[in-house]
Symmetry: C4
Subunit: 246 residues, 4 copies
Amino acid sequence: MTKNLERRLVGEGLGTALLLAAVVGSGIMAERLSGGNAALALLGNTLPTGAILAVLILIFAPLSGAHFNPAVSIAFALRRALPWSEAAAYAAAQIIGGAIGVWAAHLMFELPVWQVSQHLRSGPGQWLGEFIATFGLLLTIIGCATRASAALPYAVGLYITSAYWFTASTSFANPAVTIARSISDTFAGIDPSAAPAFIAAQIVGMSAAVGLAHWLWPSAPAAVFEKTIVGADQAGVTKRSGVRPP
Amino acid sequence: MTKNLERRLVGEGLGTALLLAAVVGSGIMAERLSGGNAALALLGNTLPTGAILAVLILIFAPLSGAHFNPAVSIAFALRRALPWSEAAAYAAAQIIGGAIGVWAAHLMFELPVWQVSQHLRSGPGQWLGEFIATFGLLLTIIGCATRASAALPYAVGLYITSAYWFTASTSFANPAVTIARSISDTFAGIDPSAAPAFIAAQIVGMSAAVGLAHWLWPSAPAAVFEKTIVGADQAGVTKRSGVRPP
Amino acid sequence: MTKNLERRLVGEGLGTALLLAAVVGSGIMAERLSGGNAALALLGNTLPTGAILAVLILIFAPLSGAHFNPAVSIAFALRRALPWSEAAAYAAAQIIGGAIGVWAAHLMFELPVWQVSQHLRSGPGQWLGEFIATFGLLLTIIGCATRASAALPYAVGLYITSAYWFTASTSFANPAVTIARSISDTFAGIDPSAAPAFIAAQIVGMSAAVGLAHWLWPSAPAAVFEKTIVGADQAGVTKRSGVRPP
Amino acid sequence: MTKNLERRLVGEGLGTALLLAAVVGSGIMAERLSGGNAALALLGNTLPTGAILAVLILIFAPLSGAHFNPAVSIAFALRRALPWSEAAAYAAAQIIGGAIGVWAAHLMFELPVWQVSQHLRSGPGQWLGEFIATFGLLLTIIGCATRASAALPYAVGLYITSAYWFTASTSFANPAVTIARSISDTFAGIDPSAAPAFIAAQIVGMSAAVGLAHWLWPSAPAAVFEKTIVGADQAGVTKRSGVRPP
């Protein structure tokens, strides 16, 4: 096991748990308070989500890279900035953390812990939405990491704040988030039967962004990428474990 | 063709496409959800637009300058920071990208792809609004580029967030955006017959800002300007292509 | 006339004009769209005001200091960072600019240019509000200028965003803004008969903040203060004109 | 008494007073204006609170550390970055300042100064909310202090903006704030009988975060921590007073 991996996995799991507690918890609060006005409910779900994302990336980026998203970890593996074995461990930590976060939200709002969403989200418009949402998210991450890494936490928070409103699917853009939201029958939920198509669209959108970024920023040194996103602690580690620049 | 121009044009086109997908997409979402309350609808259109602008400038400024706006590209050409031939190519990429973004929004929300707006926006108040909106936008860009270039992405996002509310026209401030919004019969649309006057007011506002900025900040070195706004990649290029400081 | 003063006065006047266009313009827009819900109207007035303040300070701080507020210019004079004659010229430019901004807003929204507000804002609670609002604003400016000057534009924008809601007077905190808002019979207006008490409370609040700041941060070097707030251009000028550190 | 402590205590007291004036004042304003829509009222309470927190930390962090929160001062004492005697003095200043801020808000809105809240906030869901809210707040502070200290003011403001919505208790996360809000029978109030359980949950959440942070970031040098959070002025002082790195 690579040095430091245990702490990094706790970082990914804990960060994803807090992210999901915010997504699902603010969805419950917003729906309860908004008196049936869906725009107010989405606003009360959007601002807390964008804000907590920026905070969590500020906290955890220097430790684990603050992916909180299997699509991001896979993108790093594709760019050879993270070993595939670690990307798999990251994804597992993210999925487990996401579920814990959802259950914490249910406990806080005194709802049954175990739920399954019945909120059907489907159709080509929503799948295109997930493709565009994830494509834009990865473009944001890789684009900022290359040249404006200090702005990355804010950029991701602002991106999701925007994408919640401009995509027909309200921008899940994250397989771990999609799985976690399938076990919450609240405002933010998604019926488990609708999840696989969402995740497929996310993976396609991520792949398109990784390919385009490779062409758009050919000279981006992987070392810089690793250092700013996978985290300063991690940079030395991946170098030692033989990861090469793309 | 100047070195690197192809990638820069893709950056301008893609950035403008994502901007318009956000403007039109969030307009559709906000109108659908807001239950007839126009203030909520405009809020749900404003926040995503301001947020995505900051993100897109963070991503693309080091590559293409992140103009996404023919008025901005013309201003750079007037300041001799961009060759006129490249400004023309930029404008074409922005207009094409804008149309693609609108169509992507229509597809996401499962609306007919091809639409023509019937939303009349006209009259001296709105034209003055477009003059002021574009004047302020260019003042923001040139003012920040000169002395606070790291803040530019946030400044532009915040400026548009504000201008959506304080101008009677809700601040198009961009000929490519005006053209793109004329082919969407949704919340953000503008009847094509109203577009020429909007664009004329924008060009006059831009010209006034360029002239005033020349007097306000006479010592601003064009080299700094190029480096921070046209992008680090581009600085060497324009120097080689014989562009002189104003 | 001190070197550069002409451009600095244009900066103060233009910045205050844009600030008032945003305050009054967004107030008109917000009231028109909010369907009678006062919280939505205030929100649609708050966000554009806070956002434009940050932008205008980013643009004009390196030129004129971006005061846009006679209370701020007087505070600088009290701290011997600005000659009293220049503070007076600044105040005149701010008052003239503010009026122009209000008239521009009226023109944009096709209202009569010349108006007098009938919106009575009075009573000890509102006066205490103006005292606290201006006290906090000056504490923000002096506190940030001393140690976190790059954050100042955002700090002032965020401060006003907050103070619009937590003071009973909705935080005018600025004599030029108070005068300008007295000539607009719209959402943001204030009856001229109520203005003198507001301005008096603002001056008292400013004085209290200047006194307290002198005790709280005794070692703050005036040179740093001048450089970051009065503007880099100005620092050399005031030194030559014999302004001494407090 | 350690050098400089007097000014630092005034900083803590004044900052906490302004924080509570914002929390309680914006709560009153938001409830009055929102026409019975609870989501709008919470939004009008959230944005001013998050914004003023960022501002107050920008202003006071270099002086006193800008804790405004006994849980934060105790955490610093546990990490041996603040002597226990000073932590106690900080807590006293925060509690006194908080009460003054609440009374200022009552005076501004012309309400009786002395009030006792009758707003019962209780139950395991709310206590878990306070545990999670304070745990996340301390993780934000310690995580950012270690590696991204310039972002700390924004991170704390964004964190509270989010936590107001995702915790069932609307995130008090602060014993001084809890006590202060118990003496205001307005939107933000809490019945005094409910306060002890809130405070207990906050202390447990704080302790959990301090323990976890010790394991997550073992190499974080206390010196850096002191310098960025307790304030540059304070760093020399605590060194002289014999505080050792944890």
